[in-house]
């Protein structure tokens, strides 16, 4: 049974009928902050064995570029995405090992003793993660455990969820009463601790000079801010999880079916976004099964086979973007509010080169439609795009990783 | 009455069929069990000693051992060596025991069914390092193929030999498999 297609039709039907009332309701509940300001999301996707550059990069720069074969699969969304060329992550080399740096930009992952930096989604989660039940979702469509796009501040990889079924259950099945009680108790204790130390700072403040008081006030406000966040976490524990008509999907075990597995994951991701269960998602797509043909050596038959696979990947991406576009929230499509970053860590998997990375950004609320072409010899930092994405999420960071500013030519809509 | 007779006959025939194909099992229960087996892992003569040491530790006696057929007859007390095993399970349980105690370098199988005179001995000249583990690796590459009843591997002597059932496998298949798995064949 072609489960995925049937399910997608089914979900779309149920998704739309459930989405509107659910979304509006959620928007009001989430701290009342978003009246007026649209809720912004981010989905960052990396496919780790490269994307054939000759079928990805369009020739001309600017608005009226001619779509390449891969971009043709996304032609319905041309005006809603920006294609980049001449970008890479400064200092990130090491062929395959660069796959852990797509969202961190840490130089030289191939060196002994390499310690990764914090990933884009985790930086964002620190700031906005508390507004949803799940601060972020770290996902993978992969054959091996251990592959992930997300890293903590101390460089530890965050395990990815690889099963769409388990993800679905986490999102929509209620937890046990015991788990609820444990979680709530932990949060209550955290809040009680903050209350206590907040009082200590008030006591200390009384005997401080004015300038010193300003510093103690900073401590106090941090305590209060964290308390608020814990408070909203606690509220989440009591709120029932959203109800969707769809049933939990069946996982596909065959690693060779990576396109079908990707589509399945996209389906659940869309549900997660629709129900505002999270606003930050990373997805590591592992296509190691076709690793040997990515070393095509320019043999036409191997190239053709690889092209076939990659085209199907772009079809899956197209399906995802279309499904987001078809969902509305407060008068805008979900795609307009969700940045979808799609790319790879190798400019040429054949030669293991890490420059001139094929990358595109769809949706999210930017002035799209262009091919932003940067210098192929002297690449523009991709981390600049990461910084722009943080800004789009409403986080006024001054820099991210190796960024030297925001992405040139990409304006907020 | 006739119906019952027919049913009985069917029943007896039904019993007989599996019995005829069963492993040769001992008739008397309380005496030590005797089992004829195919031995995996005897890729060189020196392995005989390793095998004897191993079975000694496991309290299994070797009554007969034919290196060139890789077959033997073992004697053991099922109650002590294999607690609670059924007759039919003796070979598989012993195999498990032998594997676990030898890091999987030795194993046991039921003896082959092909008549001995139908088997053919072949030889493949190879190049490789004079290393016991490499010999094991080369041996395992061929021994796992269906139709290979026995094999030896020695890079010191530069050859792999095998006793094959020509009805089930050809020399060329062994050569191909060896090549695929990184063994250098001597031209």
């Amino acid at each position: 049974m072609r489960f995925s297609i049937n399910r997608r039709k089914f979900l779309r039907a149920s998704g739309i009928s459930l989405a509107l009332p659910l979304l509006e309701g959620m928007a009001q509940n989430s701290l009342g902050k978003d009246q007026g300001n649209p809720i912004r999301r981010m989905v960052a996707i990396q496919t780790n064995m490269g994307i054939l550059p000759q079928y990805f990069f369009p020739d001309k720069a600017g608005l009226d570029y001619v779509a390449s074969p891969y971009l043709m699969r996304l032609k319905a969304h041309k005006s809603e995405m920006t294609v980049f060329s001449g970008v890479s992550l400064p200092g990130v080399t090491g062929g395959h090992t660069a796959e852990r740096c797509f969202l961190t930009g840490t130089p030289h992952p191939e060196r002994g003793g390499f310690r990764n930096w914090v990933s884009l989604d985790q930086v964002a989660a620190e700031q906005i993660g508390n507004q949803t039940r799940f601060p972020s979702l770290v996902l993978a469509m992969s054959g091996e455990s251990g592959q992930t796009l997300s890293y903590t501040r101390s460089g530890a990889p965050i395990s990815a969820e690889r099963s769409p079924r388990k993800l679905f259950q986490n999102l929509f099945l209620q937890g046990s009463k015991e788990q609820l009680a444990t979680n709530v108790e932990a949060i209550k204790q955290g809040r009680s601790l903050l209350d206590f130390v907040g009082d200590q700072s008030k006591r200390l403040n009384r005997s401080l000079s004015k300038l010193d008081q300003a510093r103690m006030d900073q401590y106090y406000s941090s305590v209060r801010e964290l308390e608020k966040r814990l408070h909203s976490s606690e509220e989440w524990e009591y709120k029932p999880k959203p109800v969707v008509a769809a049933k939990a999907p069946e996982d596909i075990d065959d690693a060779r079916e990576f396109v079908r597995k990707t589509r399945l994951m996209f389906d659940v991701i869309k549900l997660a976004l629709e129900t505002d269960s999270t606003r930050l998602i990373t997805l590591f797509i592992d296509t190691t099964v076709i690793h040997n043909i990515t070393h095509h050596g320019n043999r036409p038959d191997v190239l053709a086979e690889l092209k076939g696979h990659e085209e199907k990947q772009f079809d899956a991406l197209n399906g995802f973007l279309t499904s987001l576009k078809g969902t509305t929230e407060a008068g805008q499509s979900l795609l307009e509010r969700t940045m979808v970053l799609y790319g790879t860590c190798m400019g040429s998997a054949n030669s293991h080169s890490n420059v001139n990375l094929p990358v595109l950004l769809a949706g999210g609320g930017f002035r799209h439609g262009k091919h932003l072409a940067f210098d192929k010899e002297n690449n523009h930092p991709l981390t600049n795009l990461h910084l722009s994405m943080l800004h789009r999420l409403g986080i006024p960071a001054k820099e991210f990783s190796t960024s030297r500013g925001t992405m040139s030519g990409l304006e907020l809509a | 009455m006739k119906k019952n007779m027919v049913q009985c006959t069917f029943f007896l025939v039904a019993l007989a069929v599996p019995l005829a194909h069963a492993n040769p099992v001992p008739i008397v229960v309380n005496e030590p069990a005797k089992l004829k087996v195919r031995i995996l892992g005897l890729f060189a003569m020196e392995r005989i000693g390793d095998f004897r040491l191993l079975l000694d530790k496991l309290k299994i006696k070797i009554l007969e051992l034919d290196f060139h057929q890789a077959e033997g007859i073992l004697e053991f007390d099922p109650a002590k060596v294999l607690s609670g095993a059924k007759l039919q399970e003796y070979t598989s349980r012993l195999d498990e025991l032998v594997r676990n105690s030898s890091q999987g370098t030795f194993g046991l199988k039921p003896p082959g069914t092909t008549p001995k005179n139908k088997l053919k001995r072949i030889e493949i000249p190879v190049l490789g390092l004079d290393c016991k583990a490499c010999c094991l690796a080369a041996y395992e590459i061929v021994a796992r193929l269906d139709g290979v009843e026995q094999a030896t591997a020695s890079f010191k002597e530069g050859r792999i030999t095998a006793l094959i059932d020509p009805g089930r496998i050809q020399l060329s298949q062994l050569e191909t498999t060896l090549k695929e798995r990184g063994v250098t064949l001597k031209k």
Binding site: G95, E110, R111, G112, F114, R153, V197, L211 | L129
Partner: protein
């Protein structure tokens, strides 16, 4: 230049200048200052010409305005240093200048003291990340717990992070502090009645995890027995070994043979000793046996000399598989030719940490793709006979940290009977990653601290703990607040351990713990003790210092001096060396750039690590021997190891460890400026430029930070093709007078240092990718291919603003060393900014001068500066 015509407006200003103004913000400058300005300054610095944006014609400068004030400080300094009027102009009369300077100084001092006293006090600040980590480590005697990495990065202000301006707090910090406190308590609180079994295990590089086995199969390494190839494992030759799994099952790698490696670690090769994966955090004894050899197509011969192997501590993450896990270097160890050398180390290991190895002194060379593999290879190899790990070592149980929290209270099995339902303590399950052969002890059951008088005990224990954690006496009322919380938790059904844990966690997140508190005015003994211990140990005062503070003894200069001596001699003072140098000399940025592989093939992580060790070792030597300020810029010895000796062209050094070596006569090295680390942090990996190097010399060694560049000046891209030198490209610095005012000062040190490349190697000619002459290999390893050529010659000559000239680095160093007072003053300033946590202002100068003259009277040594700084009023007041 023609004499400028004074405009009408200017005449008016002149007239007004002589009218003393009582009304208004500004203070009228005295008559002699005015006339001096008129004679020597206003020609360029009036309201019309405004050379350098400076207008000195305003008679009433508003010193309350910080910008105006700092501008006038600059005026003072420039006149004081004879930089203004510029050398080409007529010199002012010496007496006239002396009077003017002393007058201006008086006014500036008074203004600074009156108007901006507030700005001179350091503002309340929290602990830096590294102070936090060290404080925890010392408080609980857990020398290796890793906490810094999880905390958000600190900022930097005035060159250091120990400053309120660089230390913000946000909710992210708070969340991480709570997390860290839990991590600490999880490690410290004992959960068993007896220590974990001490396991001693000899492990090998040829191990079950396969990290090294795969390279042995392919000839990038060999197995050796009795200093010869292992007969049971032929070296890979025309063929390689088949099937790693088969070898592991046959026990090929468990025979105790030594592993000889030809291959350096790289992206496909992480030499991990995976058989011991730490389960119990603690101290471990490590030993290893190493030697080196020359391999010649199957023969083991004496090596080219002592090689160096690296041991590191690797933190397994994820599922523990694969390579490139984060790690920190433990050290570099000698592997002498043929004869095994034993090395011993004691190291703290956290859960899931393992030991990593690297054949550090070998050039990257591989055999797996070579025809004939190891049997066709001739080259050096490093052999590791074994590594032994023993531990965890506990000299007492429960450990000291646990006793800091719970004193002598007994550990008993938790039995949850009794009238009230008491919840058992929570125990974490830690999973051992990877393929360790060491196994956890069998579960002993649930043990926890037993208290028969919980409220009394909590009061007593908190009474001992809080003053230690808060670094000062704690009022009973504050302690009571914590005890009340413990009572609450007990009433809510927590067991004693959990209830106390609540209080301890709160204490570690409270502002009393996280902030440095100093009373206004003269520091009390506690604050002084803290200021000294955070300067010298980056951490809390220990028991001895704490007791002296308690008894009010730190006011006695003799006692203070003895304490400083004791603390400098303590191994914890290494934290001062590392933290201070990391910032003062930017060593924290040592890995910020990558030297271009084509231009600098000889660069390695061994060299980089050694560079940092050199600078630290040198500073330590200055402190130990109390050497004078000249040694900052010049010396007759260096602190180096074998790889640095090769790099510097100094023969006869074989040890991997940093030690003192006398410099050969003709060697251009000596002092900090010629050290590779400093030369690297002031380059960009591909090229050098005199500007950042000169700026660093001015700022960090002379105490005369240059002005920032004017806006809209584009950076110069140095020419790697070899057609122009950077010096030629910087012509404009000299030809354009607007540029020259600053660059006449910045460029000369940079020119002298042009004799050193981006990794600190000495050069007479620039390396280039494009045109040039064939290169000389020099000390570059024979296995490295050289792809650069020799370009234009280096011109390291220059002229100082005062007219003195030099032809190269040695002469320049002499010129610098001629003014030790200036160098000393800068060191004192750096120590004060670092130790007190605020920038220096004009009013601090007399104090600094006093520190300098006292130091000069006692021999002028760097160690003396440290003492004098600590004894000064600057240091002992808020």
């Amino acid at each position: 230049m023609t004499f400028p015509i004074l405009s009408q407006g200017r005449w008016l200003t002149w007239v007004l200048l002589f009218v003393p103004c009582v009304v208004g913000e500004g203070r009228v400058l005295g008559g002699d200052i005015q006339s001096f300005l008129g004679k020597h300054c206003l020609a360029c610095h009036d309201s019309e010409t405004r050379k350098g944006q400076l207008d000195l014609s305003q008679g009433k400068p508003d010193f309350a305005n910080p910008e105006v004030f700092s501008r006038w400080v600059k005026v003072f300094d420039k006149i004081d240093r004879h930089e203004m009027p510029p050398p080409k102009r007529p010199r002012p009369n010496r007496d006239e200048m002396g009077e003017v300077l002393s007058d201006l100084k008086k006014q500036l001092l008074e203004a600074d003291r009156r108007i901006a006293p507030v700005g001179r006090k350091p503002i309340l600040r929290r602990l830096t990340r590294s102070e936090y980590e060290n404080t925890i480590r010392d408080l609980f005697d857990i020398p290796g717990i890793a906490l810094q990495g999880d905390l958000p990065a600190d900022g930097m202000a005035y060159g250091f992070d120990k400053n309120a301006d660089s230390l913000d707090i946000s909710h992210v910090n708070m969340a991480k502090y709570i997390q860290a406190a839990d991590q600490v308590l999880d490690m410290v609180i004992a959960t068993r009645p007896s220590p974990p079994t001490v396991q001693k295990r000899r492990i090998s590089l040829a191990n079950r995890g396969g990290f090294v086995a795969h390279v042995l199969l392919n000839g990038d390494g060999v197995l050796l027995r009795d200093k010869k190839p292992d007969p049971d494992f032929p070296p890979a030759g025309e063929q390689n070994h088949l099937d790693e799994g088969a070898h592991e099952r046959m026990g090929t790698f468990q025979t105790g043979s030594s592993v000889g490696l030809f291959r350096h670690e790289d992206e496909s090769f992480s030499p991990y000793l995976i058989e011991q994966v730490t389960i119990y955090p603690g101290n471990y004894r490590l030993s290893t046996s190493l030697w080196s050899f020359q391999w010649d197509k199957g023969k083991v011969l004496p090596s080219r000399g002592t090689e160096s192997a690296r041991l590191s501590v690797v933190q397994l993450t994820g599922d523990g598989r694969g390579g490139q896990h984060p790690s920190r270097v433990l050290g570099y160890y000698d592997a002498p030719s043929i004869h095994s050398q034993l090395h011993h180390e004691q190291v703290w290991l956290n859960a899931n940490e393992i030991i990593g190895f690297n054949a550090a002194s070998l050039a990257p060379a591989v055999n797996y793709s070579r025809k004939g593999r190891a049997m066709a290879f001739t080259g050096p190899g490093i052999a590791c006979d074994w590594v032994e790990v023993e531990g965890p070592i506990h000299d007492q149980w429960p450990p000291k940290g646990h006793q800091t929290l719970f004193g002598d209270l007994p550990l008993k099995e938790f039995i949850s009977n009794g009238q009230r339902k008491v919840r058992p303590p929570v125990r974490l399950k830690t999973r051992q990653l990877g393929a360790g052969m060491n196994r956890p002890d069998p579960d002993v059951g649930l043990f926890t601290i037993q208290s028969d008088n919980p409220v009394e005990d909590s009061d007593r224990l908190l009474g001992e703990f809080l003053p230690k954690a808060f670094r000062r006496p704690v009022a009973p009322g504050i302690r009571k607040g914590y005890v009340e919380k413990v009572k609450e938790r007990l009433a809510a059904g927590d067991c004693f351990e959990t209830a106390m844990r609540w209080a301890y966690r709160a204490a570690l997140c409270s502002p009393d713990f996280l902030f440095h508190f100093n009373p206004d005015g003269r520091l009390d003994n506690y604050s002084l003790a803290c200021r000294i211990s955070y300067l010298l140990w980056n951490s809390v005062p220990d028991q001895i210092l704490g007791d002296l503070a308690l008894n009010g003894k730190l006011g006695d200069p003799k006692i203070l001096h003895n304490q400083v001596e004791r603390m400098l001699k303590d191994v914890k003072s290494q934290r001062f060396v590392e933290d201070f140098l990391g910032q003062w000399l930017k060593l924290r940025q040592i890995a910020a750039t990558d030297p271009d592989k084509k231009l600098y093939p000889e660069f390695s992580s061994f060299l980089q690590d050694s560079m940092v060790a050199e600078t630290r070792g040198y500073f330590r030597e200055l402190l130990e021997r109390n050497l004078g300020a000249e040694f900052l810029v010049r010396s007759d010895f260096v602190m180096i190891n074998n790889v640095l000796a090769k790099h510097y062209g100094i023969p006869g050094v074989t040890s991997s460890k940093i030690h003192r070596v006398n410099l050969p006569m003709d060697c251009p090295r000596g002092g900090f400026l010629t050290q590779a680390a400093i030369l690297k942090v002031t380059s960009n990996g591909t090229t050098t430029s005199p500007v950042p190097r000169g700026a660093m010399v001015l700022e960090r060694f002379l105490g005369q930070p240059p002005e920032p560049p004017p806006p809209n000046i584009t950076a110069i891209e140095p020419d790697v093709q070899g057609s122009q030198t950077i010096r030629q490209q910087l012509k404009k610095h000299r030809s354009d007078p607007a540029c020259a005012t600053c660059h006449d000062k910045i460029d000369p040190p940079g020119f002298a240092l042009e004799s050193f490349d981006v990794i600190g190697g000495f050069r007479n000619r620039y390396r280039s990718i494009g045109a040039g002459d064939p290169p000389i290999r020099g000390w570059i390893d024979p296995f490295l291919s050289i792809n650069f050529k020799l370009g234009p010659g280096v011109d390291p000559s220059g002229i100082l603003p005062d007219g003195r000239s030099f032809d190269g680095i040695k002469k320049y160093q002499e010129l610098l060393a001629a003014d030790p007072k200036m160098l000393l003053r800068n060191m004192a300033e750096q120590f004060v900014v670092y130790g007190v946590g605020r920038p220096l202002s004009f009013a601090d100068r007399p104090q600094i001068n006093s520190i300098v003259s006292k130091t000069m009277n006692k021999g002028g040594g760097i160690r003396t500066v440290v003492h004098e700084v600590i004894q000064s009023d600057l240091f002992q007041n808020k």
